[in-house]
Amino acid sequence: MPDTIETSVLDDLEEAVGADFLVELIETFLAEAPGMMADLQAGHDSGDTDGLRRAAHSLKSNASTFGAPILAEAARQIEVGGVGASPDATLGAVADALDAASVALRERINA
């Protein structure tokens, strides 16, 4: 099982952009993430496959930036293959991974 957050990715990012900016970046993500999750759900509910793919793509992209491999993979599966045969489980996996990643990212900025 991969880590929720790969510390080395965040360390590299911090070195590249500075500690204060990393905090700002994480706070931005934490503020935007519920909206992306809502877009994902809305895309599925309304049958908007483009919207669904874009929301999944966006989450995947940010998850990779912050070194959150579980979230990145869960989002990527929706991006390339949609919600599949059991949409609730697929969307639930993303929501769980996002919650876990958010907790870990919050810990990082409060540390």
């Binding site: 970046l25 919207g51 992209s61 990779s64 930036t65």
Partner: protein, 341 residues
Amino acid sequence: MHDAPARLLIVDDNRVNRLLLSRSVELLGYQATVAENGRVAMELMARERFDLLLLDIEMPEMDGFEVLEAISCDPSLSDMPVIVTSSVEGVDNIVRCIDLGAEDYLPKPVNQVLLKARLGSSIEKKRLRDEQKVLLRRFATSEVAEDLQTSGFALGGTRVNASILFCDIRGFTAISENQPPEETIELLNVYYTLMFEAIDSHGGIVSLMVGDGLMALFGAPKPLDEPARCAVSAAHDMIEMMEHFNVERQAMSKPDIRIGVGIATGEVVAGYAGTDQRATYTCIGDKVNLAARLEAHTKVAGHSVLIDDATQAALNGSPQSTSLGTTAFKGFSDPVEVFSV
């Protein structure tokens, strides 16, 4: 030499990505502007000049592919380097970006070292292209420069319907003999500036400058709706400009400068002539010879602007012209009817 930092436009619908990319390029010394989708980016590019575009693919309203297509269709943007930054899935999507004209592709999350290298190289290449363009425009007209950039260089010509204008200063040799050479150069510079402006503002290009004589083309390399009318309007502007210039010269007790203009219209062959190393955009045909003869004939006829029958016919009576009868010109088997306009 290039003190101002390069201006980058970052196009991404994701706020975290916009923030991170802006910060990354600013740390590299560039100036960043952001747009949240392709449509906003196109609006910004219509108003402001950017040196490079960092473009995401997956975006609402107008995606990255559509932006690449729009840029390639817009001559004012087509030489702007675009680096696609995306975590889009599938090699075929990356290939599509490159096919649509993207200079490079950087996968997200963007590696800072790679970003620095790619930006540096793209911006330097753009700077060299811009410099080349400036040089090209100094030695060729903007139309010829544009033609060279879009169609490339190839010796050879195409048949076009054009008007040819010849112009020179009456008694230039006598004028230049009676004043220091520095003053003659100064006079020529003012004269050329005025003539170029008149020709340029009516869609013509100057294809040849020899001493005080010049040859201009109307209708090549870019076709004009009414090349004859444009050439005649340019000639009238040239005469008017010289009159203003003479008022200034009179104030300095200098002799008036008179010019003569000859215009002929018809089919000519226009294109690049010379060698692969050194060539010029010019046109060839008996109408070119005729325009030169008409210009020389202004001295004899005592009129400043002389045109051939084809030019006169194309004017449809406005502005009015007066027939001066037919004249036999050297190199032409039949006499030619000459008009003053």
